[in-house]
């Protein structure tokens, strides 16, 4: 373990009584509670933290917050490993294990760095230009590129933690708890509004934590704590720390992720929680990010943002170096000087790009500290190999286009840079608001709002602390008023002592480089985009900023170009000889910073991805050895395996038994709809192709519903239970679609009809009793009610009781045998099921599953959604005989099929001629081994082994089916290369006269 060589003796907001041990690339270090991983690494003198994305250049910590482009680490091990975290956003905790990324074999010695040496070969758009040809080589290229350019690796094991989601509603949402956000939340809360304040730091305060100003003669963080306490005591306010608002969506929906645990969460606690916040009004107080200054080698470890340096000194007590140079184009950077000197860093020079130097207050600091000020000059380059060893300073021409010949070298190990400030406008931009370029502030600021939001403080370009506090208060009051609350008169702001900005920023988008120097000036550190890359892209014709972005990858890293965006646009504008506003800006899209996929999924993982529906008889099936199959959301009994049986044995036994004696299958999953009302019959008459108006009470129809375009929507049954009450069943998978379809026509097309629709799928259970002995079983089960063929003929329905429970019995068939469906209220489901089985004992009743059900219906040539696939009409199956000559949904569209045009496919049966299975989804062809493409004559819709015929059979739709009957073709699978010779037959394999169901 090493000593914290770069920690100051005292100072900082860290808890020096709580040391924490952590590892970075396997080496052990200590830090303190209150450190981030970045500050702890710096306190241990660790400068090299990563390799760059493309050139694999050495990189150090550059920022102190969400803007960090370099220090991306993988935290944790095994299944808890999380890649691509910014070290500046990782709260240090005991036992934390972090690893650098994007290097091989080690950080210090990286093979990929050879790319840097050969970087002339890798200009902007290199991949686009080089790996285009030949196309078939792309797979090979991709493997190489992926290895070379990786941004972290995701763990391979399942995530052991769970995540949660919450929905929240508030009158005013404030994003950011810096000076403006705190005042906005406080003001809105005092108006009585429901307020939410979300902030991504560990504790509120934002820039106050590293401010040299005082609020009411005290440390400004004391003010933040006071406001936090007042908000906490207000029951209508919710404050979320460690929560990043990452998306701003339609109608003021802001989505934020809350980090509830470092490393492993407490038992039964979600590691992260995603908040979906619907806000009446939003205040965006997300602050601003300091810009770098692009000079040669500005990516060497030891170059850092001035504001980040201030944060590390102030907040974490880190001595960043021995000799520092400050390079700035604005006054704000001067605020870092005194704290750095206090921490023991010798500031050897202040290089200011402005000819006249800084304003009075900043100048006074320089004078008081006795520092050397070099005005009207720039750091042209940083010198050093593994880190900064010095800088070369030259004067800057008045137009900013060239540097002078007055070269001077200054040895130093730290360069603090400040290129001005960019408001954090990401959320504003996501809200569809339009950005506006403010030339005086040299920054994009929020323009016209598109939603009910307003930006406040540094997020709209303000710099001074007192003006940010006042602006936040005003924004909070405005939001509260807009949400309908009385925000009172002028809000009161605390008294602030700070130094004022004297001389405005001198825009400096890239430090000019003499023509004889070719070093890299980085604009985008994360994606290795240099000034030269942007200039090249502009010369090659990439004039649109959106194209430039994709070509060079500028701003496309996980930092979303926080430090690079404006510099990049400005360089493009300068190269094109136009103004920055004319170039425009890119669109910021969610998420603001990377969000774990687990957090977005929340609880909807594994079995919880979708609800599972079980029938009332489910437990019985489990007890009796059923294997289950998922049918849509339902679990259905597929077959009941007996000892020693194979799956095929079980299916064949069940199917044979239905043909021989009697079987029972659970049909509770059928969609069920009750239709009531004076005009229920008229309504259904218009819905079905069949005649329903004349359906008598106690009768049932097998009926088709079409879409308005004439294709079959569903086949089902319609039973008239009472005069004004019909009971419909639909296919298991179509229930929701059919219900919405009926509701639509009832409510929007024929609202004059008195009809009421109720889905009763969950309220009714059902069992089909099928087989020659089914009537005997029912006669034994029904309490007195007659089930004779006179009382209950084929396609009849009655109400009766089974073991005291009310049932509806509908006589119809799916298997082709005599059969009945017995429906009962769901709560009686298991009771009736068992009563039927008990009654059937002497008739050898046997349960059967969906496989046998399928075999029986294929043998009978009945259709299911395999055949009713949205491209078929009733006539394809011979059901046009049901079509009435009156209006029904889809009828007018059917006319075009009659009026000539292409001939429709016909429905046929197939019998395998060689005893082998008929491939699923097989195509009917002449010659299965002919070179493709071959003419496809039809396709297999369903197939099975028929225990009745003892042959493999199938159903198919084919051209000119009638002409083919009796002849042999091949069914060939385009996927598996299997094929079987098949004889074309009628689609009904058993009982073609249909005698059995009628008895």
């Amino acid at each position: 373990m090493t000593r914290q060589t770069h920690r100051t003796e005292r100072g900082g907001r860290i808890d020096r009584d709580t040391p924490l041990v952590f590892t970075f690339d396997g080496k052990r270090y200590t830090g303190y509670r209150g450190d981030t991983l970045a500050s702890a690494l710096l306190a241990n003198g660790v400068r090299l933290v990563g390799r760059s994305f493309k050139y694999h250049r050495r990189r150090g910590i550059f920022g102190a917050g969400a803007e960090e482009p370099n220090a991306l680490v993988r935290v944790g091990t095994g299944s808890r490993a999380e890649p691509n975290l910014k070290a500046t956003r990782v709260a240090l905790h005991d036992g934390l294990q972090a690893q650098s990324q994007n290097r091989w074999p080690s950080l210090g010695l990286d093979a990929g760095a050879l790319i840097n040496a050969a970087s002339k070969l890798f200009p902007a758009g290199f991949y686009y230009k080089t790996f285009m040809w030949p196309g078939s080589w792309w797979m090979l290229y991709e493997r190489f590129i992926r290895r070379a350019a990786g941004l972290g690796r995701a763990p391979l094991d399942p995530d052991p933690d769970h995540y949660d989601r919450r929905y929240a509603f508030c009158d005013v949402l404030v994003v950011g708890a810096g000076p403006a956000g705190l005042m906005a939340a406080l003001t809105a809360a005092r108006s009585g509004a429901r307020v939410m304040l979300v902030d991504d730091a560990l504790a509120p305060g934002g820039s106050l934590a590293a401010s040299t100003a005082t609020i009411e003669d005290a440390d400004p963080i004391a003010f933040a704590t006071r406001v936090r306490e007042e908000l906490a005591s207000n029951a209508k306010v919710r404050v979320l720390d460690r929560t990043t608002a990452f998306g701003y969506y339609d109608d003021n929906m802001v989505v934020a992720v809350e980090r509830r645990a470092d490393g492993a969460p407490a038992p039964h606690c979600a590691r992260q929680r995603v908040w979906w916040i619907r806000a009446g009004e939003v205040v965006i107080a997300t602050g601003a990010i300091e810009r770098p200054l692009p000079f040669e080698n500005n990516d060497l470890p030891g170059v850092m943002l001035a504001s980040a340096a201030r944060t590390y000194v102030f907040q974490h007590g880190v001595r960043l170096g021995e000799r520092a140079v400050l390079f700035t184009n604005n006054d704000s950077a001067y605020e870092a000087l005194e704290p750095m000197l206090d921490a023991g860093t010798n500031v050897v020079a202040v290089v200011d790009a402005r000819d006249g130097g800084p304003g009075d207050d900043a100048l006074a600091v320089v004078r008081r500290l006795g520092l050397e000020l070099v005005s009207g000059s720039v750091v042209m380059r940083a010198i050093g190999r593994t880190g900064v060893g010095g800088v070369e300073v030259r004067s800057l021409s008045a137009d900013g286009e060239a540097v002078g010949d007055d070269s001077r070298r200054i040895p130093c190990d730290l360069v603090c840079v400040s290129g001005g400030w960019s408001p954090t406008v990401h959320l504003f931009s996501q809200s569809q608001g339009r950005l506006r370029f403010d030339a005086a502030r040299a920054a994009f600021v929020p323009g016209e709002s598109a939603q009910r939001e307003r930006s406040a403080g540094a997020a709209r370009g303000l710099l001074g602390l007192s003006e940010c506090l006042a602006d936040g208060a005003a924004a909070g009051a405005d939001a509260a008023r807009a949400a309908g609350f009385d925000a009172g008169s002028e809000p009161v702001c605390p008294e602030v002592r700070e130094w004022a900005e004297g001389v405005p920023v001198r825009p400096l988008w890239a430090v000019p480089l003499p023509s004889w120097r070719h070093g890299k000036r980085f604009v985008d550190f994360q994606n290795d985009v240099t000034v030269a890359d942007i200039e090249l892209a502009a010369r090659e014709g990439y004039r649109s900023v959106e194209h430039l972005k994709r070509y060079t990858t500028l701003g496309m890293g996980t930092d979303q170009g926080r430090t690079s965006n404006v510099n990049g646009l400005a360089v493009l504008a300068a190269t094109l000889g136009t103004e920055i506003p004319a170039v425009g800006t890119t669109t910021f899209r969610p998420p603001y910073s990377p969000v774990a996929l687990g957090a977005i999924a929340g609880r909807e993982v594994g079995i919880h991805q979708a609800p599972v529906r079980r029938t009332p008889m489910h437990d019985w099936h489990v007890e009796h050895g059923a294997t289950f199959v998922t049918v849509g959301p339902w679990l259905r009994a597929q077959y009941y395996l007996r000892p020693g049986e194979s799956m095929m044995d079980a299916i064949n036994r069940e199917a044979r038994h239905v043909r021989r004696a009697v079987g029972m299958v659970d049909v509770s999953t059928l969609g069920k709809i009750e239709v009531r009302g004076r005009d229920a019959g008229e309504f259904l008459h218009r819905v079905y192709i069949n005649r329903i108006r004349n359906l008598r009470v106690g009768r049932c129809r097998y009926a088709f519903m079409l879409r308005e375009d004439g294709f079959v929507l569903d086949d089902g049954t319609c039973s008239r239970i009472r005069d004004d009450m019909y009971y419909l069943t639909t296919g298991t998978g179509h229930a929701a679609t059919v219900m919405a379809h009926l509701e639509r026509y009832a409510q929007t097309v024929w609202p004059d009809l008195d009809v009421h629709l109720t889905s009763v799928t969950d309220q009714w259970a059902g069992a089909a009793v099928a087989g020659p002995r089914s009537r005997d079983l029912l006669a034994a089960a029904c309490d007195g009610a007659g089930v004779s063929d006179e009382a209950l003929p084929f396609m009849g329905c009655i109400e009766a009781t089974v073991a005291g429970a009310p049932v509806r019995i509908i006589r119809m068939t799916f298997s082709g045998e005599r059969a009945y469906e017995v429906h009962c209220p769901a709560d009686y489901g298991i009771h009736v099921w068992e009563a039927l089985l008990a009654a059937g004992e002497s008739f050898e009743v046997m349960p059967y599953g969906t496989e046998a059900l399928g075999v029986l219906r294929i043998e009978k040539g009945h259709v299911v959604p395999n055949e009713l696939d949205g491209r078929t009409i009733p006539a394809d199956f011979g059901f046009d005989r049901m079509e009435k000559d009156e209006d029904f949904i889809g009828r007018r569209s059917l006319e075009r099929f009659r009026e000539g045009g292409r001939r429709r496919k016909t429905f046929v049966g197939l019998i395998s001629e060689n005893g082998k299975g008929i491939p699923r989804g097989g195509h009917l062809v002449w010659n299965p081994t002919a070179p493709r493409p071959v003419t496809m004559l039809g396709h297999v819709t369903s197939g099975c082994y028929s225990p009745t015929l003892e042959r493999h059979i199938a159903l198919a739709l084919m051209d000119d089916g009638e002409d083919w009957k009796g002849r042999t073709l091949y069914a060939a699978s385009p996927l598996t290369a299997d094929f079987a010779p098949v004889r074309i037959t009628d689609h009904v394999f058993i009982d073609p006269e249909n005698r059995r169901p009628k008895g």
Partner: protein
């Protein structure tokens, strides 16, 4: 996530609703009275406007009512909604 106002339940998140297509076309009262071309038009042809559009939505996870929504296909802004028989007008409120 859009906020859609159901005429019967009030404003709800759009995940509660299902989109139901163009609400500016009505099913001909007597389909036999229109020509084949008119019928094909009714079934298949829809305008694809950039701007305000009246469309059907169903509150499937709520009252199950079908209703009309006047929505701007360009900005996503929902101007108003009303029951099936409502005329949602032309002018947009500011």
């Amino acid at each position: 996530m859009l906020l859609i106002t159901c005429p019967w339940c009030g404003p709800r998140a759009h995940i509660e609703f299902t989109y139901g297509g163009d609400a500016t076309v009505d099913r001909p009262a007597d389909p036999d009275a229109v020509s084949a071309e008119e019928w094909l038009d009714h079934i298949y042809l829809r305008d694809n406007p950039r701007g305000p559009h009246v469309e059907w939505w169903q509150h499937g996870a709520g009252c199950r009512g079908w209703f009309k929504v006047r929505r701007d296909t360009w900005t996503h802004r929902i101007h108003r909604s009303g029951p099936p028989g409502a005329d949602l007008g032309e002018d947009e409120p500011r």
